[in-house]
Amino acid sequence: MIDDLVNIVRFRTRFGRQTVAYPEGPARFPERFRGRPALDPARCPDGCRSCADACPTDAILDPGRPTMRLDTGRCLFCPACEQACPEGAIRFTRDYRLSARTRDELVLSEDAPRLAAAVEERVRGVLGRALRLRQVSAGGCNGCEAELNASGNIQFDLSRFGVQFVASPRHADGIVVTGPVTENMRLAALKTWEATPAPRIVIAVGACALSGGVFRDSPVQANGMPGLPEIPVDLWVPGCPPHPITFMDGVLRLLGRVAGDELRLAGTGIVGPASPG
């Protein structure tokens, strides 16, 4: 018995502190991490469609033109467009800040950071220091769910900011929806939202919840939260799945706990930049 306790303490000491430095300190990502895409349409040969023809989800708008944009609500952050572009007009930066307050803001042009604005002062006063969320997976593949789970582990430790996932909508101040909203989950998603007392926050997480993602236009789903207009979305978090730090950044900005446009990135990981495979 005592031995067991000693072993636990010994391991704990050796294991050390695991919590990431973000947001007080820099965030750390592998060199090859694909965050916010940066576009340089000046490099595009006129009428070139290489990126759009490679994209699995039609995320690139007006390819080969000065008005080229990329819809991060559809983007899977896969390497297809970057590798297909002959001119380097699309590259993925390691900027983890991707969340937006409206669906339209998810459409990016050129190379500008995306910083979600805080929710209004009145709501922030109520929820800013203790936000309880209920998660609704509505066709999510368990990728977004896994990263949301990870945001609560001892590394990311979202509960340091008073943000926690709870077991009932009655205990919650908001819901987090993942998945394209399948026909078979539509009613359950609606009921969960209705059971959450106001003022309530709705956060849509991942390409599927933002646009249907890779399942877009399948007849048995709603193309994500835009297909469920009864539920207004307060925060849109892109990714497939979003990295836990991307999710944290969005939530903390929504609550006004992180502000400003300083990007803090630590030195990269143990593997160098991607060589074309």
Binding site: D4, N7, I8, F11, F15, Q18, F29, P30, E31, R32, F33, D53, C55, P56, T57, L76, F77, C78, P79, Q135, V136, S137, A138, G139, G140, C141, N142, G143, C144, E145, A146, N149, A150, N153, I154, F165, A167, P169, G179, P180, T182, E183, N184, M185, A188, C208, G213, V214, F215, S218, V220, Q221, C240, P241, G269, I270, V271, A274, S275, G277
Partner: protein, 506 residues
Amino acid sequence: MPSRILQAWNAEAVDLALVPVLPVEAFQQIVADTVTAGGRMSAYFGRPAGDGMVDVTAVLADDSQGKLGVLATRMGKSCASLAAECPSLQLFERELYEQCGVRPEGHPWLKPVRFEPPLAEGVDPFGRRADPRVIPGDYPFFRVEGEEVHEVAVGPVHAGIIEPGHFRFQCHGEHVFFLEIALGYQHRGAERLLAGGPDRRTLALVESVAGDTVVGHGLAYVNAVEGLAGCQIPPRAAVLRGVALELERLANHVGDLGMLAGDVGFLPTASYCGALRADFLNALAEVCGNRFGRGLLVPGGVRFDLDSGAADRLADKVQKAWESVEAAARLFFDSPSARNRTDGTGVVTRDLCNQLGLVGPAARACGVSRDVRRDHATGVFRFVHVPTVTGETGDVFARAWVRLMESERSAEFAVRQLRSLPAGPVRAPCAPPVAGRLVVSLMEGWRGEIAHVAVTGGDGRFARYKIKDPSFHNWMGLAMALRGEQISDFPLCNKSFNLSYCGHDL
């Protein structure tokens, strides 16, 4: 395996015209005989033939010979059910009914599988589409009647961050008489979207069949299309793929050991394994930029290479992470209070395991040595053997222990392979699939046997793309494991299987 059926290797494309089309009785006789004799059904699916008939294909696995048997028949509106004599076929028959309308007469448990619309135009076999408000779970559950017998309903939205499913318990106090699991909430129409491919969306779709098994399903897919194209991938690509598959296994096994510890309230292992899981996810992200391995695979090889220094550093990192996992897991397995909860809980006997046709760690925990990496090896597993781990007791402990032990083998494999990557390119050109072919591609994902079957039409496009996640076999194992248990042990039993909702629902 009878000589009348077409034999194929894993991921070997065969001429569709060579698949024998047998009379229904002969087809069913072969299926029943093979399964009764210890063979397994790896895939079973229909294609509407247009004239109200359904072309049905079965894939039988002979694990000892490493062979797959493919046979076909043509069925009408009904056929005799084999489920009573071969319980492992029960869900396959229900799926064929739901997708294609072939009613298995005499089926003991003819209920919807995932509440999906039928593949062919026409009436829904279960008559559900007439009322669009009907949702999964709204169907006649099995009920136990009696004084003080009560029913507990859980889901679809669960208490944690978990995919949706409905669990209906028939209880007397804490004692569970019966658990029925109703799924389908996650049905996104994956197979329907895959038909007509391959196209630019296909790979991303198979990576999203189960987001915790990106590499497993992705590998089953690229192996299938490479088989259809006759493409040989470079050795370096094969090794990197194998490493990615094992890193995925490690991440999931280690994470689940932490969750199991959490479910019995043993917080040290819960916290540490939760964090250590990230080391394996991050190792995948070092290679391909995504923590789940998305974007790594491509027909013909992999999209990303590692230089030798980076590969060595990654090997060191995996080795170090594994050493910490071992220590963190030992705390759990050495703790009498934790073991008191896991030992003898949620038992599946070896006999039941064989009847139900369980796969993966759930089967190996019952002493059934079954592993696609060994039995139907492809890629690097043809040359490097990862030892198969089995348990004996079939309980929560055995499932946890098997997963820890096979994690150790996976870590050894990944470290050794990263330190000795073969030289050369990581990608070869891959031609489009050849027309009129069928390929069966099996892969040992971390939950067990993944099966993808692709059938190409005259234009070289997928006329049918069938996916079977290991959870398709194993959900019934969880339902059976709960019989006679306490309802408070459900989370523990559930996590010891940790089955996929979306992989089942497609």
